[in-house]
Subunit: 300 residues, 2 copies
Amino acid sequence: MSLTSPEVSAFAQRVPAYLQRLERTTDALLPAASTDPERLHQAMRYACEGGKHLRALMVYATGETLGVAIDKLDAAACAVELIHAYSLVHDDLPAMDNDDLRRGRPTVHKAYDEAIGILVGDALQTSAFEVLANTAALDAEQKVRMIRVLAHASGSLGMVGGQAVDMASENKTLTLAQLQSLHARKTGALILVTCQLAGIAANASEAVEQALERYGKCIGLAFQIQDDVLDQIADTATLGKTAGKDVAQHKSTFPSLLGLEQARQRADALFDEARDAARGISDQAEALLWLADFIQQRDH
Amino acid sequence: MSLTSPEVSAFAQRVPAYLQRLERTTDALLPAASTDPERLHQAMRYACEGGKHLRALMVYATGETLGVAIDKLDAAACAVELIHAYSLVHDDLPAMDNDDLRRGRPTVHKAYDEAIGILVGDALQTSAFEVLANTAALDAEQKVRMIRVLAHASGSLGMVGGQAVDMASENKTLTLAQLQSLHARKTGALILVTCQLAGIAANASEAVEQALERYGKCIGLAFQIQDDVLDQIADTATLGKTAGKDVAQHKSTFPSLLGLEQARQRADALFDEARDAARGISDQAEALLWLADFIQQRDH
């Protein structure tokens, strides 16, 4: 099991330092909670707290594997987490998934109000593009490429489009292909883009870009299958968000289409393929291998 | 009256061509209405239809005054209109201003539904940054500068922050300074940024940038005072949005603080100052002079 090998635990040991860098970048970017309008800025910070920050870790792990200087990764790691945070705030709104609990705490519109929830999401999205435009560590060409791929991954052909399809799919039975297409957009695109952003920071070759794409796509789909499995088998306290929602909202899921055991096997096969892709990126891909293990073993 | 002078009507004659360029840029950027998810893409296009497109015209007018090639202005003109359109869609939501009518038609959440309203706003914001990152007419440094100023103008210290203050100010009597600060953010920042974007396209000197800032700030504040006046005196059919809302929502407005006649005089003085600033930018500032006249004379 690669989690116990010394090279792999070396990345695990750096995780706290990476999360600290993420926190510092975010803290420096967002206006202080005491800045007018205070309630908005407080709520923006509240929305960024908690969470596992897997997407930021994927940026750092990919960048490390490609030999990129850490400071070239900070803005990208921060930007993907801001996009993720904004999408959670908006997805939780009453008109969307109407959820009260997120990361073990009240959702933004419950802790504040619905108008603040809308505005917090809006401003966090803006901040994601701002942090990429502002960083001193990248050249202008890299910044523009990063903004382009992040916009594509998070817009109407990516994450937002996936959420629209998801909303429209309640009470419908999807085919497996439809479900995969939905999730490739709703969660997959933002996971894939973490690898692409690190590739841009590394000025990676086209061959490396393709290997990154394979890794990112496998992790993204495996992550979502696992999410569906966890929604079905885990409890709300462990998840930090409402469990059993997919069934309650009559959503098609990988377990509902494939059965629980088959869904798990499919996820495991995708994690294996991701590890294979990681080895194709570099013979020192410990960080990416560790992340695949880490995500595979998560219980929330 | 400058509206009748030959130089000035030359810009007026170009307005239809500028609006056509805006439409072409937006049409090429946004996925077709037949692209999956169709309902989202239809609604995104619906949200961009209608309106006077004053902000796009300000980009073109400023750029023309500074001698910028038109194709360097297209992405900026499109981006500010996308940010404006997204903000209208979100501001109209039930949890915000709860409005049924916009640009003479049902608001997005009335024509579609609330979830689509949230997602349309989200995706239009993304598109604004995407069009700037994608344009071939600007160098990477200019794109990054444009993205930076647009993010700043539209985020929590600009437009979104102003909307948060506005929501929190219902049923409160503001001082004139507070009202001006609110509107400098809520509407002023996005109007000012139109001049700044054109300045970036022109690689303008710092002196020109300062004159642009004076023009943009005067127009922005005058525009908002006039908006308050029109909300009070015009009817819903002319405005294309619900009239008399400020009084109904117990909002402080320039007429409520200054009286109607004083508010009008203050707007007129600001339009005069804007014209003065325009003459400081160039001795061939007909486009900017015409825009000041055009905005001053609008009835909706």
